[in-house]
């Protein structure tokens, strides 16, 4: 039904830092329930592009349109925390969780809907929210540790906690920057499962270097190189593209 309208539409986006053009005229459309991968060599501009979607940095040209529940938003004009509240969640490349709060409390901040000071003063967690947290933590295997501080977690577990925080906040569009970096094979496997579950009611854009992971979960893959969109297609199409092999895949995907 809604298939025809993309959830995320990047139109001719450019991003510059001083004189350096990190992203050059990139356009793409991501549709509902898709898992889109952004791949490309280091410095290709993948993180920079995600940053622009979630409002962390601004475009120097073009625009980014996000659609949710019949509304259309120009993300350029919206503040970061508002962007989150209209359903765009972001996980950063370096895992970033709140070390002064327990794992459960980390989840608590993510699960609530009303994030105003007043609501934070007054409202307690609802039963459903507690259940959601429990379910989510159980899925990533952190439930038993819920009252510990994240300082005890491994790098991979911190990634999971952050992903779990994202999931529990039920975004419509999820932006993940290298979610499986630092994870072992089994953890990566589990993350792939998780993404496939989330996919049912969420659109996902993932930056990742782990090609096996990409093969497993990607709907479509967009290849960036030197800030430009090199090609776009299914993983098979992309990995057959000579240019992509030359600049990226041929180098072992790193």
């Amino acid at each position: 039904m809604a298939e025809a309208v993309p959830v995320l539409e990047i139109r001719d986006a450019s991003i510059t830092f001083g004189n350096f053009r990190a992203v050059k005229n990139v356009s793409t459309k991501v549709y509902e329930n898709e898992i889109r991968f952004l791949i490309g060599p280091n410095g290709a501009g993948k993180t920079t592009l995600l940053d622009a979607i979630c409002g962390k940095n601004r475009l120097s040209g073009g625009n980014i349109i996000y659609r949710s529940e019949g509304e259309e938003y120009d993300l350029q004009k919206i503040k970061e925390n508002k962007i989150v509240n209209i359903g765009v969640g972001r996980k950063f490349q370096a895992p970033s969780v709140f070390t002064g709060l327990t794992i459960f409390e980390n989840m608590e901040l993510a699960v609530v809907r009303d994030r105003s000071v007043f609501a934070s003063l007054k409202s307690k967690l609802r039963k459903q929210e507690i259940e959601d947290i429990k379910h989510q933590l159980q899925f990533v295997g952190l439930y038993e540790m819920r009252n510990e501080y994240p300082t005890v977690l491994s790098h991979g577990q911190k990634q999971w906690l952050e992903i779990a925080m994202l999931c529990v906040s039920k975004p419509k569009l999820m932006l993940l920057d290298e979610p499986v970096a630092g994870m072992g094979r089994r953890e990566t496997q589990r993350t792939a499962e998780l993404l496939k579950i989330i996919q049912n009611n969420c659109t996902i854009v993932v930056v990742e270097h782990d090609m096996q992971f990409v093969k497993e979960v990607a709907t479509l893959v967009t290849v960036l190189h030197d800030g430009e969109l090199l090609c776009e297609g299914t993983m098979d199409e992309v990995s057959g593209n000579q240019q992509v092999i030359d600049v990226y895949l041929g180098r072992g995907g790193e």
Binding site: V84, G89, F92, T102, E108, L109, R115, L121, M165
Partner: protein
């Protein structure tokens, strides 16, 4: 279901609550066994403790170091002092204005005739000022050292302004020579006692309020802002709004403290709100133990009490002594005085480690002896404790 034990924060604070109870009990009973001179001193320190609570909220919990809370203390204090001055002047022009050849009471003084206005102003003026400063800085993402310097400059600016406005605020002499407060003589023992208990009630109330806030989700957001502000933003919260909120809260507490300070001490002058006292306020919190609430009260009381005792005994060197106390606490108890309770466990830990290290060294030596006769007995030395980030 074990849903109950999911939310834990709050119960963990019982030890601290007991300490708070003991402190309040001590303060409440102090007039029974202390001279009125000492009790008056304690009243003053309770005002400081009130300021310290606010600083703990913004620095200890939220990680914003403000070296300018003298401003808010001063605003509250001056508001109250203006009212008291008008009461003391009996409808005439305040004495210092007459000396400065001012002929008519300045318009902004007039509302301070009203005690209701004064009581509101004591809270609202600091809060409004803090809201303006806070919005300008936090919304523009000024933080860390920049905010620190800015806040310090503010207290310097206000003090300088007050000094320069001899005709409106009494210049460097400040405002003094009060006679009555809301009609009661400021020097009567009863008034003093009432003020003392009034301050205590405010302190307890503020402690309860801050505890409630810290235990609510707001407290968790504040800690999160301290740890990873960006993550907070991308979790959908506006860190700036929370910062302005807690900044205003601390300004309100400082303002109330200033207003309670004036009638008990009898004077407010620009030296009380300048950079040095503003910095000292932060030291109280650091010495007591930040992000603990009760620690900041303890710190304010202990530092100021020590300061008075030492300055009475050794008027020449007390400042060095206070400096030494500060350094000693930071070096040996990075978590502040409140972390002394961890000391026994820490010592036991060190002893345990030492003995197990000795054991390990012994066995290592035995094993090593077999192979090579000479080996460094120093095995890995793991640091104990956590070393709080200042």
């Amino acid at each position: 279901m074990d849903l109950k034990n999911l939310t834990v924060r709050g119960h963990r604070l019982t030890g601290k609550n007991i300490l708070a109870m003991l402190i309040f009990l001590f303060l409440a009973t102090a007039p029974i066994y202390m001279s009125s001179f000492r009790v008056n001193m304690l009243g003053k320190y309770m005002c400081f403790a009130l300021v310290a609570l606010g600083i703990d909220m913004i620095w200890g919990y939220t990680g914003i170091l403000s070296l300018g809370h003298g401003v808010y203390f001063g605003l509250g204090a001056y508001c109250m002092a203006m009212h008291l001055k008008l009461e003391a002047s009996n409808g005439e022009l305040p004495d210092f204005m007459a000396w400065s050849a001012v002929e008519k009471l300045p318009a902004f003084w007039a509302p301070f005739h009203s005690s209701v206005f004064t009581i509101c102003a004591v809270v609202l003026i600091p809060v409004i000022f803090a809201a303006i400063i806070g919005s300008l800085t936090f919304l523009n993402r000024i933080r860390g050292v920049f905010f620190c310097i800015l806040s310090q400059a503010l207290s310097y600016a206000l003090a300088t302004f007050m000094i320069g406005r001899q005709e409106y605020f009494g210049g460097s002499n400040g405002l003094t020579s009060f006679t009555t407060i809301f009609g009661f003589s400021v020097n009567s023992p009863t008034t003093k006692m009432v003020l003392f208990y009034f301050t205590l009630v405010f302190l307890i109330g503020a402690f309860a309020l801050c505890t409630k806030i810290v235990n609510s989700r707001v407290g968790r957001v504040l800690i999160a802002v301290r740890d990873a502000e960006n993550r907070v933003r991308f979790t959908g919260y506006s860190p700036a709004v929370y910062k302005v909120f807690v900044y205003c809260l601390s300004a309100a507490l400082a303002g109330i403290a200033g207003a309670l300070y004036v009638p008990q001490v009898g004077i407010i002058s620009p030296t009380d709100i300048n950079i040095a006292p503003s910095t000292e306020m932060v030291i109280w919190v650091a010495v007591g133990g930040k992000a603990t609430l009760v620690g900041s009260i303890l710190g304010a009381l202990v530092v100021n009490f020590t300061k008075s005792i030492v300055s009475e005994q050794f008027p020449d060197i007390w400042q060095f002594f206070i400096g030494a106390l500060f350094i000693a606490v930071i070096l040996f108890f990075p978590g502040g005085l409140i972390s002394i309770k961890d000391l026994p466990a820490k010592v036991i830990g060190i002893i345990r480690k030492k003995s197990s290290k000795a054991d390990a060294a012994d066995t290592a030596a035995v094993n090593a002896d077999a192979r090579e006769p000479k080996k460094d007995p120093k095995v890995s030395r793991t640091p104990v404790g956590k070393g709080g980030s200042v």
